[in-house]
Symmetry: C2
Subunit: 358 residues, 2 copies
């Protein structure tokens, strides 16, 4: 394996110069840089990342902390993060905290982080105090998606506004008996978002002077199958809601499934709306409030990169004006009405929804 001194020899300069030239640093005469570049190319030279890390103390690796790797939101966020990192010469190390149980998770340890990453992105996972203390002690910059961490940049959506958009849509269609699927036990690992959505749901209903029966707020573990299971119970009773708002599209799909089993037609007998715009929602014609997960992922990565590179002699990526490395970036969401929501039958206005028969 050819190393830096080979290049130095061929280029007829010192290793220090090679190091500087290759990193595009400061003051290296252009002609010198050219010679170095040629020598490097000719020798097929590739910097040893480990040696560089040991010497510099930086790894150009970012850890992605996440409670799940394979769920829609997380997989997409990770994908966007990885792409953005890569474009800037950084790499992504997976730190998956998923455990076997639904409401449990593994703990972040020194071993996972120490000397291994330059910074962290937490994807929608509330970090525990000890974990935050560890991160602080290791002096690792952290950007969080979805969960505010004091002193850290945050990328999020406006949960209240998102849920309100769904509720407003449903209410505008004339529904008054509206249920919610996606309440979550307090000990859930990924607890904040569910909590905020439920709270927003209650507030939005109350803004419309609407009541919710307790049994219309159903708890489940944020999977389609559990949502189906719980919704079945709901539909077993008569006089249930005419519309359901689900905390996520996957749960909405579960609800649709349970409704079909209960011989409820969608949207004639039941309107359903989710949140996300999951990649299958379009095909399932599920109304939803879309959130741009890829945008959230790359924004988080950009902000972190900016922090990591500022002060260095490298070109620091300039942040879009709407991002700031020490504050909150709120990515907009937007209502996507599809076929699963329609006017409540018997409501005053009997316009058909999107020209479709009810």
């Amino acid at each position: 394996m050819t190393n830096i001194s080979d290049v130095a020899r061929v280029a007829g300069v010192s290793v220090a110069t090679v190091s500087r030239a290759l990193r595009g640093i400061s003051t290296v005469q252009e002609s010198t840089r050219q010679r170095v570049l040629e020598a490097a190319t000719q020798l097929d030279y590739v910097v040893s990342p480990t040696a560089a890390s040991l010497a510099s103390g930086r790894t150009r690796v970012v850890g992605i902390i996440t409670p799940f790797l394979s769920r829609w939101f997380f997989a997409n966020a990770i994908s966007a993060i990885e792409k953005t990192l890569r474009e800037h010469g950084f790499h992504a190390l997976l730190i998956d905290l998923e455990a076997t149980g639904t409401y449990d998770r593994r703990q972040l340890t020194t071993h996972m982080l120490s000397k291994r990453v330059d910074g962290l992105i937490a994807v929608n996972i509330p970090l525990r105090d000890e974990e935050l203390a560890l991160i602080t002690r290791l002096n690792l910059p952290l950007v969080s998606i979805g969960n505010p961490v004091p002193g850290c940049a945050l990328v999020q959506i406006d949960e209240a506004q998102t849920v309100t958009a769904a509720v407003d849509h449903i209410v505008a269609l004339g529904h008054e008996r509206i249920g919610y699927v996606g309440a979550v036990p307090a000990q859930a690992a990924h607890t904040l978002v569910p909590y905020r959505r439920l709270t927003a749901f209650r507030e939005a209903l109350s803004d419309h002077a609407l009541n919710v029966a307790d049994s219309w707020v159903v708890s489940c573990d944020w999977t389609a199958s559990d949502a189906a299971r719980q919704a079945r119970l709901l539909f077993a009773e008569t006089g249930g809601p005419t519309a359901i708002i689900a905390g996520s599209d996957e749960m909405a799909m579960g609800v649709m499934s349970a409704a079909a089993e209960a011989d409820l037609r969608i949207p004639e007998d039941l309107s359903v709306i989710g949140i996300d715009d999951h990649y299958l929602s379009e095909v399932l014609k599920l109304s939803t409030v879309r959130q741009d997960v890829l945008a959230q992922g790359s924004a988080a990565a950009m902000i972190l990169l900016h922090q990591l590179l500022e002060g260095s002699e490298e070109i620091t990526p300039s942040l879009p004006s709407n991002m700031s490395s020490d504050r909150v970036l709120t990515v907009p969401t937007d209502l996507v009405p599809r076929r699963t929501t329609a006017p409540h039958r018997g409501s005053v206005s009997s316009h058909s929804f999107l020209g479709l028969p009810h």
Copy 2:
């Protein structure tokens, strides 16, 4: 940051002994090891992975090469791989080759691999010759999932048998007009699996002495939405198939959606079966041939770890007897019938697809 010589000093031994004791290596007197462990704990010592890598030439990092991060198969495989690696003290570095275009992908480069990983797992992506040459040149062990690579261990399912299971099931129900969704242009990046499935489909039909109209074999890009789009064309004609076999569950979902739009009831007018057992398939009541992606992921990781650790002084994980580090492991698949039925016979209660209007 405390380092190995601090520990050595406190424990009253040499750095070499600390190194050995901490790695659980060979011949260190138990009492000595204890003292070292105590010192390390007391000092909150954590080995520097970069220094260790530089000195040893090994990184304890495995690269996961994949064409997609967020699609169901890939996200799950990655999740399983990461878990298995982690259990053995290894880390996962993402090498996502996804490009913007559907049928294109980025190329593996020296920069992504060199001195960065000890080994590689290729998740269902056919590596190009140059890429394989690179991997060979870097002397990196490779385990492949889904695509055979000469000289490398392979984890796969039996594609032919899997497709045949679907066909047999459909034929056993009495169908004779059977279509296939999931043919793929030859230039597709992830071309082998689609090709094998289509071939197997044709052979299976021919084994049953059944013919397929050309128009019943539809091409699409292996997403639900494109499958829906293409299937719509199919259903626009009359006298089409009474059953569809889709190359993946996601495509099957697209087919179901298109069928609903075309007023075809499932399963009365059309039986649909996919391959995968996607996490939404149960809720969508989609018949399928299940493959265990997690098993494939962890098997691949186990095999690679075994190769990486054998010959070292560390405890090498013993491979389950069905795995071998230099051959092919075929993970079984199994038929999961859900709502497929005999043709033209239904009329019990006719559930529409998720309660959606036909």
